[in-house]
Amino acid sequence: MSTTTQSDYLLLFRGNVWDRGLSPAQLQKVVSDWMAWFERLKAEGKCAGGHPLEEAGKLVSGKQRTVADGPFAESKEAIGGYFYLTAVDENEAIEIAKQCPGLEFGSVVEVRPVADICSVKQRAEEYSERELAGARA
């Protein structure tokens, strides 16, 4: 995995049914506003990219490696897409998230710092160090 600065954030857009019931004019406005927001963030160098996700998907889990149709449709929790923010601190990432045009209609934005190192790998290294320290003592 590539290393990143601490200042990268992932915005996860949750909820994929918020557009239901909007008038054509409302829909047109929110979609235009969203695209303009994305283009502005890219032009300002604050967004490295982003994509919507298809609603259909699969969920793989368990020792048996079961494949199920994802419970993504019609959900307030489902992730509908993401932006990758660059070179911002947490406050700026939150301020950017607050500008999301979908919020007005019930969309929710999760703001997550991108980590330098996987938290499990970090814990694994800490355990090893503790064991080594224990062995030396």
Partner: protein
């Protein structure tokens, strides 16, 4: 896009089990990388914020890091089909420890356009109009 859910799968594993799991994960990852299947991948830090409300006025800590649903990281695959992406996800070594993998196709355009095809022309017209105004200014 693969979304890894349940970032605390390592709880209760011994140091050697954890070490082995990490080695298997790295081998899986390296194998995909050698086949040029990876376009991007990052772990996410456990802490984050969730923004909601019509003006983004609600900012709460989240998601719950302990949750089995929480997203702990992602991997963007270059796969030929959803089937291939699912097979890659099924080969992930840490599935047996309770992590689950959501497999979601990445779209070039928002699914709202698919549900409302009439929007495409309207939004393009509006974007052209804005460009025209910007050029004239």
């Amino acid at each position: 896009m693969l979304l890894f859910r349940g970032p605390h799968w390592d709880k209760g594993l011994s140091t050697s089990e954890l070490q082995q799991a990490m080695n298997e994960m790295m081998a899986w990852f390296r194998g995909l990388n050698e086949r040029n299947k990876i376009k991007g991948a990052q772990p996410l830090a456990g802490r984050g914020r969730v923004i909601s409300g019509t003006d983004g006025q609600f900012v709460v800590d989240g998601p719950f890091a302990e949750s089995k649903e929480a997203v702990g990281g992602y991997l963007i695959l270059q796969a030929d089909s959803l089937g291939e992406a699912v097979e890659i996800a099924r080969a992930m070594p840490t599935l047996r420890y309770g992590i689950s993998v959501e497999v979601r196709p990445i779209l070039a355009e928002c699914p709202i356009f698919q549900r409302h095809p009439e929007l495409v022309r309207q939004v393009n017209d509006r974007a052209a109009e804005q460009l025209w105004v910007a050029a004239a200014a």
